[in-house]
């Protein structure tokens, strides 16, 4: 007799896994030659203006709207849509700099209405995960304690299907979701501007630092604005993850964190 789950470790059924990390993790090993091609990246934000210079055609998209009659309180409408604020376009443009050939999907969760927005964020994440997206960029958060369990369940599910959830932390020293959980890549702005440089923070919940201060970013109407915010740091890390996944598609979230930590400027 065996306890539950132990059958998975029978020698006959145990799956082989690649021992993929080299002794010394370098930028060359991690992403040289990769453009993020073949990697599905979801920008869960305000929409993406696909006509913005350099963003090019999107692989797909959907708008999530609150709907009290829907089983989970929100409904997904697949298809093209515009960017309501400009921020989703900014994130997409940043990802394109680091991972120019990634398959970008726009999932618009911002702008319809404020009430129930946590439910809408969650439904956007579920849709992205159901489509097999490997990287989810979430430059947004909620501080509502009611949503702790909901987002915990979703990011656990993402982790188990090897999806990398990249979240901007908010600016207040209080828990916000989904950036709070150990399974996500939580990001804040550091003082550099080089999109290929990052820092690792040894005192999380914020784990990674990336450019987000005084940046020239894409916005509505094909123009750029000069902006600051942790929300611009997250897509830098999402882009780097897509670039690395383009070359090493089998990496798990915990391996990806190991790789990013090794590539950080403050790694010795």
């Amino acid at each position: 007799m065996k306890p539950a789950w132990s059958w998975q470790f029978d020698p006959a059924t145990l799956q082989r896994v690649p021992a993929s990390l080299p002794a010394a993790i370098t930028r060359e090993w991690a992403w040289e030659g990769s453009t993020g091609a073949g990697v599905k990246v979801a920008v869960i934000d305000s929409g993406i203006d696909a006509s913005y210079p350099g963003i090019g055609p999107l692989a797909g998209g959907a708008v999530v709207v609150a709907d009290d009659d829907a089983p989970r309180g929100a409904r997904v409408i697949e298809g093209p849509h515009e960017d309501l604020f400009g921020h989703g376009t900014a994130c997409a443009a940043i990802i394109r700099v680091v991972a120019p050939d990634a398959e970008l999907y726009s999932i618009r969760v911002l702008g319809e209405r404020l009430t129930g927005r946590g439910i809408v964020f969650a439904e956007g994440m579920r849709w992205a995960l159901a489509q097999g997206m490997q990287v989810l960029n979430m430059s947004l958060s909620t501080s509502r304690a009611d949503y702790f369990g909901l987002f915990h369940e979703i990011v656990d599910g993402a982790y188990f299907q090897r999806a990398m959830v990249v979240c901007a932390v908010n600016n207040v020293r209080a828990p916000s979701y989904p950036s709070q959980y150990a399974s996500v890549f939580s990001v804040a702005a550091h003082e550099g501007r080089d999109p290929f440089r990052l820092d690792y923070n040894t005192s999380p919940p914020v784990e990674f630092g990336a450019p987000g201060i005084d940046l020239e970013v894409g916005w509505l109407g094909g123009r750029t604005i000069r902006a600051t915010g942790n929300s611009f740091a997250a897509p830098h890390i999402a882009g780097l993850i897509a670039r690395i996944l383009g070359k090493h598609p089998a990496l798990t979230p915990f391996q990806m964190k190991t790789v990013l930590m090794a590539l950080a400027d403050n790694a010795q």
Partner: protein, 249 residues
């Protein structure tokens, strides 16, 4: 009428007393707090203006409730849709943002100039959020003093946002609690006993308030039991609170 409940005329007097004392006893008007916060923030940042807009959930709009500095008088009362602009994005995304060249957006410049007579070049916006809800945005326009790079300014603004959040949430809790008690007393004064009145209040309150009203009802019931039962109940509530706090941290 049950002899545990006060007579009807006492309840009527209580209602009158509560109505008279309410405005005196409640915390200062939250707008006074908020006005003090934006005035302080404007001085600290040496900014052209600082304002706080609160979310109107019926209209899905942001309404500027207080402002200090350039265009302040015209800004107060101004309503903007929550589904666009820098303030709208901060509110919706729960993220802070600073933009330094908003004048380049001709639509923005024209809209704002027509309303307030002042067109800023730089905006810093931060959402006002508690662990219960998102309810507004604090904005600083054209700050001249900076703690260093933009992110330091945000750390500073976060302190003001925290004060505004505490002011609004405290005021809200008092007004909800006061309203629930007053409504219950008023119902009781019209012939129902206090227990029935609290039950009715609990039944028609929105969810968060309904829980509070149910708790109030339990306390009412506990109140008429003996001291031993009350001690046990207090111990159980104490243990539960300790457990809940531990679980949250």
């Amino acid at each position: 009428m049950d002899d545990r409940d006060p007579p009807r005329d006492v309840l009527a007097e209580l209602t009158q007393l509560a109505a008279d004392l309410g405005p005196v006893l409640r915390p200062r008007d939250d707008e006074e707090f908020l006005q003090a916060i934006v005035e302080t923030a404007r001085l600290v940042f040496d900014a052209a203006a600082c304002s706080i807009a609160l979310f109107d959930e019926h209209e899905e709009e942001l309404e500027f409730r207080v402002a200090a500095g350039s265009g302040a008088a015209a800004t107060i009362g101004m309503r903007i849709p929550a589904d666009r602009g820098i303030a709208g994005w901060a509110l919706m995304s729960g993220q802070s943002i600073a933009v330094d060249d908003v004048r380049q957006d001709p639509r923005f410049a024209a809209d704002v100039a027509a309303t307030t007579g002042y067109v800023p070049n730089a905006i810093m916006a931060m959402p006002l959020e508690s662990e219960r809800r998102s309810f507004g945005v604090i904005e600083v326009l054209d700050r001249r003093r900076s703690g260093g790079e933009g992110i330091d300014d945000m750390e500073l603004l976060a302190l003001f946002a925290r004060q505004a959040t505490l002011a609004v949430e405290t005021s809200r809790i008092f007004s909800n609690l006061g309203q629930a008690i007053l409504e219950s007393v008023a119902l009781a004064a019209h012939g129902d006993d206090l227990r029935t009145a609290l039950e009715q209040r609990a039944a028609k309150a929105p969810r968060a308030q309904a829980e509070l009203a149910e708790l109030a009802l339990l306390f009412h019931d506990l109140g008429v039991l003996g001291p031993e039962e009350r001690r046990v109940a207090a111990r159980i509530a104490d243990d539960f609170l300790a457990y809940a706090r531990k679980r949250r941290h």
